[in-house]
Symmetry: C2
Subunit: 454 residues, 2 copies
């Protein structure tokens, strides 16, 4: 059985449809779909030397404008593999976004292979040559022969100038599929996508609206969460709402999504379901990801709360070693509510800088309620702060005992006249323990400020 | 024209070969290749909600044992797309490693689709059921109906038990291609790969040896580096050595690689080339990635140096907000050489905690040579340290002036009787500026200790 799969809306009211055999649930959604494929070219991806962060960014951007990413691939800097990937992608997608292999160095062959696929040749583009020359003269550097090659583009392509680097973007079409080749350097690719590719896609195609809303939870596992909302979840499929569980250290995000052409109807449908599920899991929810916005991180949610309440934050981090401070300060504008941090990585400095009494180390140890409470108290003073977080734990892999195994962590949060301590026992992975401690600590402070009891 | 592409070494001396049309350069290498494909299943990847970190880790592990990853794909939690991906992968690869879609929740359909592809059905595996029950009872939790479903596996598959979670791995074969399905949770997948999948691959196949060596550089751009080593690079192809440039904020890694069955010959070939290129770029090199080891991060290289010299480190971070401290403490055992950090996020605390004279703020500003030098000096005292790093800058996006634009950063490093300041002007991306500052600062300290002049 065949279903309608793709509609290309062309100029002057013409359109093209493609059909495909698809699962029942996707029938309705698929009708409105413009499909994109992301193709990454580079040995460095296949041997695992770098993580493909371009794909995640591009997928977010495309999703936001109603383009579905149906496939992502990574292939080597190798002619035959690239040609096959181009041809496979052409059959699957309406638009193929290609990154990588455009560097000035000799291992990069995307451009010549692009020419071969489109049966054309490389020619110098005078505008790009001007950009390349300008790029280097601005940095007081000579334009070399290698750099000059950056101005070569396939004859007949639409050249997209690169404001952040030297390799231009290139837009070509074949059998109603668009191919866009972009540099692999993330901020260069992002500039080209934002300024040119996304606006051009929006101009050319009539796109559906995709509405997502993600519920952010902390302190409950995936399967326990699933149990709590099982009955509610059963009713989603027939409303053509998708639900996904997205776990990360100490947290699970629940994403609801649906697609269509009536924006307000979609909005209403999803928000109704969010209202239904909220009471079932309220105590675990620390925030929501709204449509069209980046997913809010807990440091952003906490930051907004501090800003709104006019509270100043101070930190004392032992086992997390400055990670909470890094997260807090990764938010632009955090200096408005953040005063600073002390990382006392030995008892001596917990004593010198945070006035923890030496008897605490002798009687309770540095990983104890007494220690983090003393740290939090002095942090308020040292940073003239209204709220504070103090943590001390055994991140591992060494340092555990039978009484306090690796992963044992004490967190104290302070606000008004209260200092609230809590013990956690996380796992045995150092980085995960640091992340889970940071997330738990920021959420503890958020709850204390909002007076949400555990 | 056809070339030998794949050899499957089977039991009792039999083998299978496959042929493909390939580029000249890959002819020799391809002869010894066992090809792997990595397939990720999950809508969360395609809509850009999570980054595919599993692929990078698996690629590293496979590379290390001489298996080439020829393709990576990500598809949706959708039956038709998964079936097509299985079939495409079978044609391309000797082994297909699948992650994702095995969760206990309703959006995960990998297991039923796996059954459909292999024309089999789900049955309860008693050992897995025991594992699942044990997993929950250890955590004092009830086993729910949803959890029990985790013990269902395709009839006839080789079950790989999951020590870190509840979804088991599943190993199936079809037409001489191996399919292994694993959970998408990184540390669960990693446990299954390390304990079972990798040893099994090594047992079944005669694998070639891949030798990589990566030269780590800091403080020079990709194209300038390419110019410096252009003549040397021209000679690599005929020696069947691949070279890749891998840029990251403020750094470029140069990776040399070659493949074959004679380990010592490969080792000699690559090391000879490293010796040839070293004198051309010596002042930019901060380390090397050796074969079979993780790529050393600059915080690890600095940490080893501090440990060897018996030096204790203290930090004062303003614009980097604790990021350097986080990197230093992300290294297990860092407490042996790290004493701690102060993050004074306002002038007031630079004065209170690090004794920066108020006249410095008035006359020079907080982003100045005078400020970071004073911070470094007091950091040595506060943390009874032998070496110190102090940074102050404008990370952005706000806070820039025409005189000191966003990206302006002062770094001071202290060792013995010297405090060495240096100014940088990075770009306008907050996180990149933080990363570039951290990398530059750690390398400055490394060079000061080793008495390498800029």
């Amino acid at each position: 059985m065949f279903y309608l799969d793709k509609i290309h809306f062309l100029k002057h009211g013409y359109f093209i449809i493609k059909i495909l055999n698809l699962q029942r649930f996707y029938k309705y959604i698929a009708k409105y779909t413009m499909n994109a494929e992301l193709l990454t070219i580079g040995n460095e991806i296949l041997i695992g030397q770098i993580t493909n962060t371009n794909a995640v960014w591009m997928a977010q951007q495309l999703n936001m404008i109603g383009v579905s990413v149906v496939h992502m691939s990574s292939v080597a800097d190798e002619r035959a593999a690239i040609l096959k990937a181009f041809e496979d992608a052409r059959q699957r997608a309406d638009i193929v976004l290609i990154t990588g292999g455009l560097g000035p160095t000799k291992d990069d062959i995307t451009k010549t292979t692009f020419c071969e696929y489109f049966k054309t040749e490389l020619v110098i583009d005078e505008n790009v040559l001007k950009d390349v020359t300008g790029f280097f003269s601005k940095r007081n550097k000579e334009v070399t022969e290698i750099n000059r090659k950056q101005a070569e583009v396939p004859k007949g392509c639409l050249v997209i100038r690169n404001k952040n680097g030297t390799a231009p973007g290139m837009w070509m079409e074949k059998d109603n599929t668009i191919f866009v080749s972009m540099p692999g350097v993330p901020y260069e690719m992002q500039g080209i996508m934002t300024d040119d590719v996304i606006p051009e896609i929006k101009k050319r195609f009539k796109l559906p609206f995709i509405y997502h809303k993600t519920i952010l939870t902390q302190g409950i596992g995936e399967s326990s969460l699933a149990e709590l909302i099982s009955d509610w979840e059963d009713g989603l499929a027939e409303k053509e709402i998708g639900l996904a569980y997205l776990p990360s250290p100490g947290m699970v995000r629940l994403r609801l999504s649906s697609k269509g052409f009536n924006e307000s109807e979609l909005f209403h449908k999803i928000e109704t379901e969010v209202d239904k599920v909220r009471p079932l899991i309220e105590r675990y929810i620390y925030g929501y990801e709204e449509y069209g916005k980046d997913q809010p991180k807990i440091e952003e949610i906490l930051g907004e709360l501090l800003l709104k309440k006019g509270l100043k934050l101070g930190l004392a981090e032992s086992c997390t070693g400055g990670y909470i401070s890094h997260l807090i300060t990764s938010v632009p504008g955090s200096s408005a509510y953040y005063n600073g941090c002390i990382v006392p990585y030995h008892n001596e400095f917990k004593h010198d800088l945070l006035k923890v009494d030496n008897s605490v180390f002798e009687n309770n140890g540095a990983v104890s309620k007494e220690c983090v409470m003393a740290m939090a108290k002095e942090t308020l003073k040292a940073f003239k702060a209204d709220v504070a977080i103090a943590v001390s734990g055994i991140a591992g892999p060494g340092g555990g005992t039978s009484e306090k195994p690796v992963g044992t962590t004490w967190i104290a949060v302070a606000y008004e006249d209260r200092i609230v301590p809590k013990q956690f026992v996380f796992g045995d992975n150092r980085l995960r323990n640091i992340q889970m401690t940071a997330n738990a600590a920021m959420n503890m402070l958020r709850k204390l400020i909002l007076k949400i009891e555990d």
